[in-house]
Amino acid sequence: TIGMIVIDASGHVWAGTSTNGANHKVPGRVGDSPVMGAGAYASNTGGGAAATGDGDIMMRFLPSLRAVIEMERGVSPDKAAQIAMAPIIQHYPQFSGALVAVNITGHQGASCHGFSSFAYSLASTQYTTVKVINVPC
């Protein structure tokens, strides 16, 4: 799955996802990606967030919505991502997933759990090329 957040210079936030889902899924199964608040969420007052991982588990907690709400309250993206992931980790300690969050000033952060590694990509005026940021899970 790719989950993407784009914020333009005037602070207009867009979020989106695209995926082919889990391998050998039961026909008709849909994961978190097309579910707003689960796979991704966008708010011009908070920012954007996108999730990846075990969609069957993650979609039950709407982590992207949770992260954006936390950022609306002034929480940093890193902390917002951690807060959004915490209840999933609590109830499903063996799940694999990650979440990236970007606030309305373009600061970003991420949290992951269960993967051997997780990385996300970003491009902004802060860097001259696309930057890959590795996150320890």
Partner: protein, 194 residues
């Protein structure tokens, strides 16, 4: 300090990031830049988890899900279980633009996509066909079914519900929840994810 504009995406799919960033930097809208970025991943089949030709279902068919959301109006276009159309994020954007709905699914979503001018084509490739065959040859393992017969841990379908012993029905609510909720999907990993 502000770092706007910005493009961020899950995983090191740098081609998608660059495509969206190049578009945004050249004056393309944030919405269109996001669609360009995600479409890039669909075309490149990023790590096999995006786009056609990978991660088939139990019947061997690849289906696609996508969503796009506007943070200023909270408008959403989403598509799920999309069949035989490659540009899922494009279809999601078409749902955003040309309907007042939020989510279309399945065969009807395909019909909508065709009405909107998207091309109908198979999402199968040699890779997805081989993935499906390998799974079948491995007795359909791993498997997302539970509480069915034959045992999904060792047999392929077709499956039917496994009647629970009467005592299971008399258990407390929390016990029944444990019975029907697996704590993890060990088959979800770096290369098989939503």
């Amino acid at each position: 300090s502000s770092f706007l504009p910005i493009v961020v995406n899950t995983w090191p799919f740098t081609s998608a990031t660059k495509a969206a960033w190049d578009a945004l930097s050249s004056g393309v809208s944030a919405e269109e830049s996001l669609v360009i970025g995600c479409t890039t991943c669909e075309v490149l089949q990023c790590d096999g988890s995006v786009g056609y030709g990978s991660n088939p279902d139990e019947r061997g068919e690849t289906t696609l899900d996508a969503m796009i959301m506007d943070g200023s109006t909270y408008a959403v276009g989403a598509v799920a279980d999309l069949r035989r159309v490659k540009n899922a994020i494009g279809v999601a954007q078409a749902i955003l633009h040309y309907t007042d709905h939020t989510l279309l699914v399945g065969e009807s979503a395909t019909s909508f996509a065709l009405e909107m001018g998207f091309k109908e084509e198979s999402l199968a490739t040699n890779n997805s066909i081989n993935m499906f065959k390998s799974w079948q040859q491995n007795k359909c393992q791993p498997n997302f079914r539970q509480n069915v017969q034959p045992d999904p841990k060792s047999s392929c379908g077709p499956y039917s519900p496994l009647p629970p012993p009467p005592s299971k029905f008399q258990r407390s609510g929390s016990d029944r929840l444990k019975l029907y909720t697996r704590k993890s999907h060990s088959e979800i990993n770096r290369n098989n994810h939503d």
